[in-house]
Amino acid sequence: DVKVTQSSRYLVKRTGEKVFLECVQDMDHENMFWYRQDPGLGLRLIYFSYDVKMKEKGDIPEGYSVSREKKERFSLILESASTNQTSMYLCASSPRGGVTEAFFGQGTRLTVV
């Protein structure tokens, strides 16, 4: 079974802190995605990566950065956390090419106080 693992289920951070959300997949997938989910807004794509060291902005990249140094790991970084970044963050991965399903992690619920 494909497994996508997010490092934390729940996280509480203070405003201004630098926050790292980690995601690891074990199926050698090329594509990895970070989304945030808010009530009434669905899943919004923050960043995605289709190869090591490659990244592309999604729909809402402001306030975030990402890192993909290894194929299996995709990190989301909040450079200076703000209260409007309180949200559920979901990581996903999928194999390269064509139309294929994405596999999701369990999500990290981040609260910024």
Partner: protein, 110 residues
């Protein structure tokens, strides 16, 4: 980017009733996915549709993609409390980017 509109935003049905959720795209869909999410958890893949007119079923859930590949529907027959959750449609707008609709919150009353 691909824009997906889902309707309704929320749905409350009595156990045993049928229901339909719709997903409409502003662009041609190259791949359309349906996922289900239990509250506070990750997304579980349900079905994927690619071809115009395609229809797939799994247990009591049927998904269809219209001939023009711009609209999909998810139909649940004889709903049960276990069907409750958030249903999301997702699509590949470009080869790599995967975007989602805003979701439909389904409540099934016993």
């Amino acid at each position: 980017s691909q824009e997906l509109e889902q309707s309704p935003q929320s749905l409350i049905v009595q156990e045993g009733k049928n229901l339909t959720i719709n997903c409409t795209s502003s662009k041609t869909l190259y791949g359309l996915y349906w996922y289900k999410q239990k509250y506070g958890e990750g997304l579980i893949f349900l079905m994927m549709l690619q071809k115009g007119g395609e229809e797939k079923s799994h247990e009591k859930i049927t998904a269809k993609l219209d001939e023009k590949k711009q609209q999909s529907s998810l139909h649940i027959t004889a709903s049960q409390p276990s069907h409750a959750g958030i249903y999301l449609c997702g699509a590949n707008g470009s080869a790599r980017q995967l975007t989602f609709g805003s979701g439909t919150q389904l409540t099934v009353l016993p």
